[in-house]
């Protein structure tokens, strides 16, 4: 996983700067290392006047600003100490765990039938696992933003699964295949609409405001998860439902 931006969870600091004079990446790095007395500094990118610098440790913003005087000004600064990040990591496990538990209980209350309920929960779990896998594949950091996206994914994933289960189990008209096909038409439209809107969000945040990582991370995670959801809902979940209806009858 991309370890360079995981300030939220690992502890460290990230600064977005505007250069006042032109310097190279190496010059800026050695200037900061010399003035701050630590080697754990990395200039991540220089795009025109915009520079992103990462500090490995919880760096005092006052010192950074003094070190940069005359060279650059700080646009945004984000620092998280190790204590806070450990606390955040703990909270994330609890939040995702309980979110999943509450969602599962709700699904059971809705269907009151173990097999279809488990199928819905299994599909949601698969979506999350695939999304997390995609995050490590594409170097999207596990941050507060991507955790939000994972929770959102639970909601989106369950949407299509509930649609499928309701249509297949509750509707009387038509064969199982006809009902499933009808549900698929609706569900895939839903997924594609959501993917399209997230793609728009992603493109705007990446090209217009690269500093808004919160939004582009959320969009990227959701795009991966929603693509996965098309497969898990219409292959896995539908397969389980078919098998279940056959066994039941």
């Amino acid at each position: 996983m991309d370890s360079t931006r995981v300030v939220d969870l690992k502890g460290g600091a990230l600064a977005e700067l505007t250069l006042e004079k032109s310097v190279t990446q190496a010059e800026l790095e050695s200037l900061l290392r010399e003035k701050l007395g630590t080697g754990d500094i990395k200039v991540l990118s220089i795009r025109g006047e915009r520079v992103t610098v990462q500090f490995g440790t919880d760096m005092d913003v006052v010192k950074v600003s003094e070190a940069l005087r005359g060279t650059a000004t700080i646009n945004s600064y984000k620092a998280v100490g190790p204590v806070l990040s450990k606390q955040a990591m703990n909270q994330i496990y609890w939040a995702i765990g309980f979110a999943f538990l509450f969602m599962s209980v709700t699904v059971f209350i809705i269907f009151r039938d173990p097999v279809p309920s488990l199928a819905v929960i299994l599909a949601a779990a698969s979506d999350i696992i695939i999304a997390v896998g995609g995050m490590s594949l594409f170097g999207i950091p596990l941050s507060l933003a991507s955790v939000g996206a994972i929770l959102m994914l639970i909601g989106y994933s369950v949407d299509t699964d509930i649609l499928l289960t309701t249509r297949v189990l509750k509707r009387r008209k038509g064969t199982i295949n006809e009902r499933a096909l009808g549900a698929m038409k609706t569900g895939v439209t839903m997924s594609i609409a959501a993917i399209a809107s997230m793609a728009a969000l992603y493109l705007v945040t990446v090209f217009v405001m690269p500093e808004a990582r919160v939004l582009s991370d959320i969009a990227a995670v959701l795009i991966i998860g929603l693509l996965a959801d098309i497969l898990t809902t219409w292959l896995m979940n539908l397969g389980i439902l078919r098998w279940y209806l056959e066994v039941r009858s």
Binding site: N75, K78, Q87, A95, G182, A193, M198, A212, L215
Partner: protein
């Protein structure tokens, strides 16, 4: 057709929606939307106390920090407790280095005679503005009766000895005990005086002493554990970017729906429903003074996204239920079963995040509580207000069936 329009407009849900949208527009235009720090620019500083404290101690900590920031002339500052061990300081439009510099000084005030602590910040009741005469300065302040007694006893017979004043264990000044104080009679109105080389220096020194006395004493040591700052320009860019992204997202959805239903007229009600939902969420945010920040914008997008999903479900149910009116009604009931079930699971999934945010405060993942809350708010508004109206519309005009 006219009969259908008037029937549609007379539906109580439609009337409710129109009234609420009008109320939201009024609320937004009169009260305004409170923008989060990441949109208007500013700094958010997370402070951690040495140990968890009770509510009274937490109160002292927040009010001392608040006072100190005000003394230094920082405007638009909000200091609030977050749980029992953290304090969040929000400041609009100030660079993080200045803020960290001010808050970073923990401000533990002590006055000592010899090695004995005779006064702490809590003994000081009020401080008057400094008086500057030439290059001499004077800072009058008032002690509590208790503090005055303690001080008088300690100072008895010690005229000429210094009262060493420390801020965070650093000696700041050491005025001498005057003859009148050394009599041992408790005095609540006291002053510290001194002389510098110039009037300007006297002003600086007096201001520092005033701050020192005013900022009182923090009962526990504090440490800055997180700084997050956004310049106003960047904030404006975020806000504009969010609007562009929102518009493009709506456009993308519209294209998908036109391709799927081949009926542009169907896209209009979906668009208006989405717009109404957005207005209602923002209206509610304006009324309850809810901060709209980047996380909240993500929440609004999530709520609107599920809204579009729900409208697709409604449309398809009505489409497949063509023909008899009773069957259409039945289908809409089916659609709402799915809609309520998905809304229920989404809210259930968001609750832990909202809970962490409200109970533990806005540290760590609590920063995302705004996201969870906005999503839940949006979903509730959608499920109970806007989506039933959309269903009513589709049912009445049978737009989908006319394709």
């Amino acid at each position: 057709m006219n009969r259908k329009v008037s029937k549609f407009l007379k539906d109580y849900r439609v009337i409710l929606l129109i009234v609420l949208v009008a109320a939201s527009i009024t609320a937004i235009s009169t009260m305004g939307i409170q923008q989060g720090l990441d949109l208007q620019g500013g700094s958010l500083i997370q402070i951690q106390l040495e140990r968890p404290v009770d509510a009274a101690t937490m109160n002292t900590v927040t009010s001392v920090l608040d006072k100190r920031l005000n003394i230094f002339g920082v405007k638009d500052v909000k200091v609030r407790a977050s749980g029992d061990q953290n304090v969040i300081v929000e400041i609009a439009g100030v660079q993080p280095d200045q803020v960290a510099d001010i808050v970073g000084k923990p401000g533990k005030f002590e006055a000592k005679i010899g090695n004995e602590t005779v006064l702490t910040g809590t003994d000081i009741v009020s401080v008057q503005p400094p008086i500057i005469t030439g290059n001499e300065w004077e800072v009058p302040f008032r002690l509590s009766t208790d503090g005055a007694r303690k001080f008088a006893e300690a100072a008895r017979g010690k005229a000429g000895e210094p009262v060493k004043m420390y801020l965070d264990d650093r000696l700041i000044t050491a005025p001498e005990i005057s003859a009148e104080v050394a009599t041992g009679k408790p005095v609540t109105d006291v002053r510290i005086t001194g002389a510098e080389n110039s009037k300007a220096e006297a002003e600086v020194q007096a201001k520092e002493i005033e701050t020192l006395l005013k900022s009182g004493s923090l009962p526990v040591k504090v440490k800055i554990v997180g700084v997050s700052s956004v310049s106003p320009e960047l904030g404006k860019q975020f806000a504009e970017g969010a609007v562009i992204a929102g518009l493009l997202a709506v456009l993308a959805i519209a294209v998908i729906l036109i391709v799927r239903y081949r009926s542009p007229i169907l896209v209009l009600p979906i668009f208006f429903t989405t717009l109404a939902e957005l207005l209602l969420i923002l209206g509610a945010a304006a009324v309850i003074r809810w901060n709209i920040d980047l996380a909240a914008i993500a929440g609004i997008l999530a709520a609107i996204g599920t809204g579009v999903d729900d409208q697709i479900i409604i449309t398809d149910e009505v489409l497949s239920g063509e023909g008899r009116r009773t069957r259409r009604k039945f289908r809409i009931k089916d659609a709402f079963f799915i809609i309520f079930a998905s809304a229920g699971t989404l809210i259930a999934a968001m609750l832990p995040l909202a809970y962490i945010g409200f109970s533990r405060g806005a540290t760590g993942i609590g920063l995302l509580a705004g996201f969870a809350f906005t999503t839940v708010l949006g979903v509730i508004i959608g499920v109970f207000i806007t989506r039933p109206v959309y269903a009513r519309f589709i049912e009445t005009f049978n737009v989908a069936g006319r394709k």
